[in-house]
Amino acid sequence: MAVNEAIKLRNNRLAQYYGMFTVGLIIFSLIMGALELGAGMPKAWIGWTFLMLTMGLYAFIGIMSRTKILDEYYVAGRNVPAVFNGMATGADWMSAASFISMAGTLYALGYDGLAYIMGWTGGYVLLALLFAPYIRKFGQYTIPDFVGTRYGGRWPRLVAAICAIIVSLTYVTAQVVGVGIIMSRFIGVPYEWGVVIGLSGVLVCSFLGGMKAVTWTQVAQYIILIIAYMIPVTFLSLKLTGFPIPQLSYGQALQNITRLESELKIATESTARDGTGRIIQGGYVPAYNEGLSNAAAVSAINQINTYFGVNITPPKAQSIPDTSKPAEEIQPDWRGTPWNFLALTFCLMVGTAGLPHILIRFYTVPSVRESRLSVGWALFFIFLLYFTAPAYAAFARWEILQNVVGKEISSLPEWTQNWSRLGLITQRDYTTLDGRDIDKLPAWAAPQVKSGALVINDANGNGKIDLAGATFSETEVDGKKVGTFGELSGTVITKTSVDGILQFSELNIDPDTIVLATPEIAGLPYTVAALIAAGGMAAALSTADGLLVVISSAIAHDFYYRIINPKASMNTRIWLGKTMLVVAAVIAALLALPRLALIAQMVAWAFSMAASSFFPVILLGIFWKRCNGPGAIAGMIGGLSVTLFYMYSNYVDPSFNVLGITHLAAGIFGMPVNFLLCYIVSKLTAAPSQEIQDLVDHLRSPELDDELMTSIAGGKQAAGAH
């Protein structure tokens, strides 16, 4: 058929464009590497060139895809082939957190961190089997469209639109923070400028071309981010194991980690904290070592108090088990049980399938058939990165146990010194304070002085800490051991804390460091680091793009067109969509400026919220005809309330918990409540109209009929407008 021929021709052309782009990117990187090594091109130039070139490319795609057609603006004309939609979904999904922080989380958590790896991939199975084909068949513009049409009336649509906006706005704010951090770290511009430059990159693309431009940019961004992610770890694997396929060779790293941990007695004796304040105890490979703590809540509230000058009382710091207490007083805890791991994995999976910015990508494929295939491609492209992240973590852990822990601080490898200077690696050995100004203590030591655990006695009055030639001595005061070392004394001064050797427990690594420092650990040129920065930017910008489309369409389409003014013309709707895009971007930038820790926390909560609100309602909407509007509203409100209640309670007071499940997995309690309420209330109220039941039958059949669907979806409003 002629139509098929035309599609084939177009797909071939697309494959050619992106193939040429991939080759071009590799050649460009090689040239930059040669200029750096051969001609000594300065680092700042390399960073700027990568940045300008990639941002210029996104702007170019945006301009080429500019459109005034509604279907192109909201759903990319519904003609994105499965493979390309898969790549776009991959970039849409993988955020700054996946690209930069996930390997660091795995580094800190060991096996327990695999809940993220399994959760964020296994969710696509649910998406493929339960949602994607029916979303495509429904063939409208937004997720509130689906909820509003299936359950009838304004309220379900409104509730869904508000949920979509809240989830997407916190998520996009986290991306903007990511953009600011990458720009300031690699290009050296101030964080605030990084935010502005990054956001203008997002806007150039999505403002002109909406979903169409976003889609084709995301495909390019996927290619950049996956290449950037693969190169450093491949070289690191080659350096450490002599084998260039990290996904296969990091087993050797795991073996070495286990051996070094038992040699250094890490698995049995030490505790450390990861970036979010969770207590990690035990080895890397053995499972379920994570305790409960409200350190994240305490620091988030303190940060808010400082930034806004308010005075909210933070909760009393608590951790279970409480490692500051002697062993016999420690309360029994849930370490060693799999419940939190299983609950978290489940919430992440279910939440993934319920996130609006991922669901809308399946409106953009040409057919139901392609939508099923497209989820497969999406997961395949995501899999490539998630399959590799544990290798990054394992190699970094091996390198650190081998060459950093237990070594003299003065002789640590150069990369450790570099990242220590940037504050991403903290060495809490007190000999590092030698020669420091007393009023300029590092962030880890200052609170100890405040609490009295560390006392500085400036004997010679020069305003600096002098430790030259100091020796350690210990006395017992009121049953507590107090150490003295030169001008330092206090309960934190112990024999090992002043021996000039970096213990595992004295080392704190920011999760972002693992991916960012890998090029240096592997001894690669700066060009590779610049490529990583471009990849991180691509990950953050592509996710931000997708989220901004969700927010702008929830307001312009669901709120304005469907609820307030159903007679609005196409031009008005596109114009309003574009305006809302800019407004949402500006709000996200303003929210990102304080860099609140609470934002990262909210992103982690988004999965539990999506799991206990959207997921059950969309699922029952397709698979249970009898489910009705009152049931859906009761389910969403009840499920979300239970989740928020558990989340808040456990966040501030970790002694409130069921089976040791943390606030991150609170959705495990809200989701069944949603299902149950939805079932009971639906049964107690009238069955949905025949019209709606017919709609469900239409959804279940794969024969595509977009015009019919539009007339059903738009029917109510159109009738009301007459």
Binding site: M1, V3, N4, R78, N79, Y111, L114, I117, M118, T121, G122, Y124, V125, L126, A128, L129, L130, P133, Q247, L248, S249, Y250, G251, Q252, A253, L254, Q255, T258, V285, P286, A287, Y288, P338, F341, L342, T345, F346, M349, P366, S367, V368, R369, R372, L373, V375, G376, L379, F380, F383, Y386, F387, P390, F623, D697, R700, S701, P702, E703, L704, D705
Partner: protein, 93 residues
């Protein structure tokens, strides 16, 4: 197969839906067993080592992920066949 030819459109959709649900149930059972059973026995599985990988860790970091990808592609393939069987072919656009 002649049964299907004599069915009304609604009957075909109902039969198709039943088969679809059965397939979904089977695939979700596999999905569940791969994702949620090995973590229960992770420390025992870790006693076995394959190419340096402790098996419990390997399940979480690689095997389950590969199974997820395969499950989705298999579903796409099986559903295409099911569409054809019940003459519910997706319209070309």
């Amino acid at each position: 197969m002649s049964d299907i030819a004599n069915m009304s459109r609604q009957e075909r959709i109902n039969a198709y839906w039943k088969e679809n649900n059965r397939l979904i149930a089977i695939l979700l059972t596999i999905w569940f067993s791969v994702a949620y059973i090995p973590p229960l026995f992770v420390n025992q599985l870790n006693q076995i080592t394959i190419a340096g990988f402790p098996l419990g860790y390997y399940f979480g970091s690689q095997i389950s992920l590969i199974v997820f990808v395969v499950l989705i592609f298999y579903y796409a393939y099986a559903m295409n066949k099911l569409d054809a069987k019940y003459h519910l072919k997706d319209r070309d656009k």
